[in-house]
Point group: C2
């Protein structure tokens, strides 16, 4: 069991405190993504320095490489990767859909072929929960069937009802431990009727938190906010709410305004490896010629190691020369930018300041 | 001018102190290589933490990318790359030979085409010194004509006499500054007569240090030691001696025994990016299956960030998954290993302990 306390609220937005065995987490919280047991190009010490308390890691990737058995032998993922904060693991459902070959969904689970070596695997709700247990996850996610956007009502309905049955099986397979938790995932695509039905079904079980799944996989921001507007309202008030895989800074601000507490996204690290930086007022591509002789930091207002020590001109040189340090410095800065944004969001909520003040005009990369 | 004081000696081996404008350097010293203005996969802070006081950077690479004019505008290479230690720059001669296309050596200098965009450049002694001045190098190297091993007497002689003339022109073009210096480079291939002639010619000028060039480019270790045995003897005792581009740990120990004070090599960082680690007693390839479930650090006796926080099993997983963190952790560890070796070498010299105790049996990668 994990404990969630609401500290303040402003409109639908909430500031809270999530108490887990591995970290005391202030919400709204952003979880950097450590796909293979490493947040790419970042050391655990760097990660801690950005103020990160919890990261997301991927069950699908870790079950294939290095394998959950090895991670369990190492003493769990936290010990394996040298991270002393909390870890949320996804169930693997999303990657089965997006990465694996020859997948087949049955009542039992998802049968798929590894994208690495073509080996065959069954990911059932029970197996997913067991893997996440072996990984030593602080927060376990139920296995769900993910669908692409757009989907027909029929497709969304069929995936939703199967996901509900899988959620119950995931919960039954889950071993409760103090300071650990399991979250359900609301499905239903862009269909209000299905989202509300999914929410009602999942609320009848004793989950520690509720995720909204199947968003940010292609749909426009307006639709995402619309789905949240009716889905979040139907969720229990005293449990954390997690919007999976989101997003850009403006997505996060707007989702918090709809009552979301938790986020994860590859954007700060992936865009960092692509030479893109999130800065006060928007974002920039460091490859741009205009930065060639720009001897100012990425963001004058940022206090990260990158901004305190390096100029745009130097980082541009690194990125254009494919130097690893370029990816390191940009990833570090982008994570700091996200964590600073979360701090501002939380302060605004606590101090009753409209979150619209945190929306920039041009944060689209 | 830079100041070099010998602190102790043991046989031909010397422990010294090299006082420069940017660092007080204990010798024998190892200089990590920062080709393009970054020691690959390492932050300047990491570098400092390993005990590094001086790095080598490459004139050839920097004149092409990002260009010496830009680096000068940035306030010099140290400021550009956020490194507050000392920097030695090579002259570009070696890369002209090994990397560029369509090079032509004339009395005036080396005409070559960039390996990046095919643009044409002239690297003369004067231009090389001027670039190194723009970069703000603590130690400047004269331009020399580098030859491959093996070379005929004729080839080695012709390159040596040209290099001597270029050395004089380099010195004439060099602007003396307090705490900065310029080093000459002894050439002559594997021919004792030529090495001694080169040494005599260069000694007649007032250089701040002497490098032995044209070694470690293919010849066996025995031959390298043989060349050093007569070349170093002919060098002034009160000036630092630098063996360029060397080498493996055993090369370094043996060269110190011949009286060498300074080294640079890409090996710790390059092999780090290839999954290889230097450890007490030898070296290892972390991809090896035997490390799959090895939950001990790379080197129990090492106190670097990598060894204090991560296991072989985890690093193997990172390297096999092509994760950047693998290169980061191995490069950091290897540099620490090299700097720790230099510390041991220096302590042995000061305490009169035979350096043979620092030779491992199997450090060949």
């Amino acid at each position: 069991m994990i404990k969630f306390d609401r500290v303040a609220s402003f409109g639908m937005a909430r500031a809270g405190l999530l108490k887990t065995a591995h970290a005391m987490i202030e919400t709204p919280v952003f979880m950097p993504v450590g796909t293979l047991g490493t947040v790419k190009a970042i050391t655990p010490q760097n990660l801690k320095d950005t103020g990160s308390k919890i990261i997301l890691s991927n069950t699908y990737h870790l079950m294939l490489r290095p394998g959950d058995e090895l991670v369990e032998k190492a003493g769990g993922l936290r010990k394996f990767m040298g991270w002393d904060g909390a870890i949320l693991t996804d169930s693997g459902g999303f990657q089965v859909m997006s990465l694996s070959a020859l997948r087949k969904i049955t009542e039992d689970g998802a049968i798929f072929q590894s994208h690495i070596d073509g080996s065959k695997h069954l990911l059932s709700p029970e197996r997913s929960v067991q893997i996440q247990h072996s990984l030593g996850s602080t927060i376990t996610m139920v296995l769900d069937e993910c669908i692409k956007y757009p989907s027909t009502f029929q497709e969304a309905q069929s995936a939703m009802v199967l996901s509900s049955r899988w959620a119950k099986r995931s919960l039954d397979a889950y071993k409760k431990r103090e300071g650990h938790g399991i979250f359900a995932i609301v499905q239903g695509g862009q269909y209000k009727e299905l989202r509300l039905e999914s929410t009602e079904q999942l609320k009848s079980f004793d989950f520690d938190g509720y995720a909204v799944g199947g968003l940010a996989v292609g749909e426009p921001q307006d639709l995402m906010i619309e789905v949240l507007s009716y889905t979040v309202n139907a969720l229990p008030e005293n449990k954390p709410r997690y919007l999976m895989g989101v997003g850009k800074p403006s997505d996060i601000v707007k989702a918090v305004q709809q009552g979301i507490d938790m986020f994860d996204c590859v954007l700060p690290t992936r865009s960092g490896r692509n030479g893109q930086a999130f800065v006060t007022g928007g974002s920039l591509n460091i490859r741009n010629l205009r930065y060639k002789e720009d001897f100012s930091p990425l963001d004058e207002l940022c206090s990260c190691y990158t901004c305190k020590n390096f100029t745009k001109s130097y980082i541009r040189h690194l990125v254009k020369s494919n130097e690893i340090l370029g990816a390191m410095l940009l990833s570090l800065h982008n994570l700091q930018h996200y964590q600073d944004l979360m701090k501002k969001i939380r302060n605004n909520i606590i101090n009753g300041i409209n979150l619209d003040t945190l929306l920039y005009e041009q944060d689209d990369l």
